[in-house]
């Protein structure tokens, strides 16, 4: 290893230049940094790439196989968003937990001691990524539809309302990952929990007859999936709200409490 010269040429910055240096990093800046952290590690890069490839694969398979009635933009979009729904929560989880497992939290929180701002930046970066992923899924679905159109009426018809709801669904599924990651703070258990907990919840509420009503209001598979299907009624929106209270707001609140109060090691 070569020995660098110890001598720094420039004197310490003149003390008068503090005003510019003392600028608190803006949320936009921190969001850009968090977006960069999603893909600048080996694991993050491959995770995002496999998300893209999985979506492409789903679009190609659905577009080229099955009944002609399935070869519609809305069906392709629905399927590709379900594929995103598998990987985006993992990206969200790792965005938070990797700071703990790789111990970069030590660096992150010395640079930004207001830990809530870091968490807010992670949430906003997740929203950005989810929207980008949704647009990509929409573009791929359109390409798939053009590749092998059903020829039936309504092949290209998607209501703007359902389109917007599908975007919301994508964002929600990513944010649930961020929330779970911040509540658990350890990568593997958080990823397992994100797959197992909704299934277990669904199984329990469906097995026990009396809990059917609960499922309608709290089961992700029931209330959230409707977002990608049809324009929701006010009652259904309320169900989305209650489901989010359990799966998004609660873990995010626990996570915020842990991140803000805990010792950073």
């Amino acid at each position: 290893m070569s020995t660098a010269t110890a001598r720094f040429d420039d004197p310490l910055s003149p003390r008068t230049a503090h005003r510019a240096r003392d600028q608190r990093p803006s949320l936009a800046r921190l969001t850009r940094v968090e977006l960069r952290k999603m893909h600048d590690t080996r694991a993050g890069f491959w995770l995002l790439l496999s998300g893209l490839l999985l979506t492409v694969a789903v679009v190609v398979i659905v577009a080229l196989t099955g009944h002609a009635s399935d070869h519609t933009l809305s069906n392709l979009l629905n399927n590709s968003v379900q594929a995103l729904n598998v990987l985006l929560p993992v990206v969200g989880i790792l965005l938070v937990t990797s700071e703990w497992s790789q111990r970069t939290a030590l660096l992150t929180f010395t640079l930004v001691p207001q830990r809530g701002r870091v968490l807010a930046a992670k949430v906003s970066a997740s929203v950005v990524l989810a929207v980008v992923a949704f647009v990509a899924a929409l573009a791929l679905s359109a390409a798939g539809t053009a590749l092998n159109p059903s020829g039936l009426e309504g092949t290209w018809s998607v209501s703007a309302g359902v389109l917007a709801q599908t975007a919301v669904f994508t964002v929600i599924s990513m944010l649930i990952g961020v929330a779970l990651g911040s509540a658990i703070l350890v990568s593997a258990p958080a990823i397992v929990a994100s797959f197992v907990l909704p299934l277990a919840f669904s199984a329990v509420t469906h097995l026990i007859g009396g809990l059917d009503g609960v499922a309608n209001w709290l089961d992700q598979g029931e209330s959230l999936t409707a977002l990608t299907d049809h324009a929701l009624s006010a009652n259904e929106w309320a169900r989305v709200g209650t489901t989010l209270l359990l799966w998004l707001v609660l873990p995010l609140a626990i996570g915020a409490w842990r991140v803000l109060r805990g010792e950073i090691r």
Partner: protein, 310 residues
């Protein structure tokens, strides 16, 4: 400027840091010395707002660390060189820090060069770095915001002798340009040469603080007989001077060399060596203060001690 006032941290009912008070002035290097587990890291974590003190408070540049709007541009910190994402390239790790604090990421290659990480190393994933390379990356990370204060926990850990000399030069130069440096170590010889001020911590308490010379002022005299140690010990005893055997032969005496010389003359003992204990004394002081055991000399010899006596 770093000011710690009565910092105290209790973990599980035990005080790991108690009432730690000190001040580091601009233009100086402060060596924070103590054995492993003495509370150095805990103190530094409290300085940087990663851990809340149970009592006392710390200020950096006149404000608590957490209230600095953009601390990365004012204070450079290296708390643990291992705290890097293994799957990130070295230069990318620095870029992330630069972007976060609003420093120019174009400085990254130049900085990597300054800390002696070659172009090839900069493109490697941190996972593949040796401990020494991680330390250099960590030091680059601390310097990237062009700060006025440096807080470095065990920065010499894993550096080879050449790297250690390089780091001393870097810190000396940083202080000469008006910066404030606080660096910790569990090895005296790592900081002795560069520090203007030494803080010695043992069992969570500051047990000694001052310049090297101040600490040495009452470190005593090292004396060795030319051939008869027993006669020398008897002569010192007659003169009423307390003496302790030194592992490399001879005795440590809590008195001025002149006094010891007269005692030897009175006892008719020829001396092989007589003088202030210097480095050996500081090492001794360090052991005594931090172990709390006055008979630390009887423990197995430390290679550092032997080396410093030669």
């Amino acid at each position: 400027m770093i000011e710690s006032t009565g910092l105290t941290k209790r973990l599980g009912g035990r005080s790991v840091v108690s009432d730690v008070t000190f001040r580091c002035a601009p233009g100086t290097v402060t060596g924070f010395l103590g054995p492993n587990g003495a509370g150095k890291t805990t103190t530094m974590r409290m300085l940087c707002g990663l851990s809340d003190p149970d009592a006392g408070h710390a200020e950096i540049l006149g404000a608590s660390y957490r209230s600095l709007p953009n601390p990365g541009r004012r204070v450079g910190i290296l708390l643990d060189a291992a705290a890097q994402h293994g799957g990130r390239r070295g230069q990318e790790a620095l870029t992330i820090s630069a972007l976060t604090m609003g420093a120019d990421p174009a400085r990254v290659p130049e900085l990597l060069d300054r800390v002696g990480l070659e172009r090839r190393a900069a493109r490697q994933r941190v996972k593949q770095y040796s401990l020494g390379m991680r330390q250099r990356l960590g030091i680059a990370n601390a310097l990237i915001g062009d700060p006025e204060v440096l807080i470095l926990d065990e920065p010499a850990n894993g550096l080879d002798p050449e790297g250690m000399r390089w780091m001393r030069g870097l810190l000396r130069d940083f202080a000469e340009r008006g910066g404030t440096v606080l660096l910790s170590s569990h090895l005296l010889h790592e900081v002795e040469a560069v520090a203007d001020q030494l803080l010695i911590i043992g069992n969570g308490k500051i047990v000694a603080a001052g310049t090297r010379d101040e600490l040495l002022a009452d470190a005593g005299t090292l004396v060795r007989a030319a051939d008869d140690d027993t006669a020398l010990l008897a002569a010192l005893d007659v003169a009423g001077l307390g003496a302790r055997a030194h592992p490399d032969g001879g005795f440590m005496v809590d008195a001025e060399p002149e006094e010891v010389g007269r005692a030897a003359q009175a006892g008719g003992v020829a001396l092989g060596r007589l003088g202030p204990s210097e480095s050996a004394g500081l090492e001794q002081l360090f052991f005594d203060l931090t172990s709390g055991a006055p008979d630390a000399l009887d423990e197995p010899r430390s290679p550092d001690l032997q080396e410093s006596l030669r």
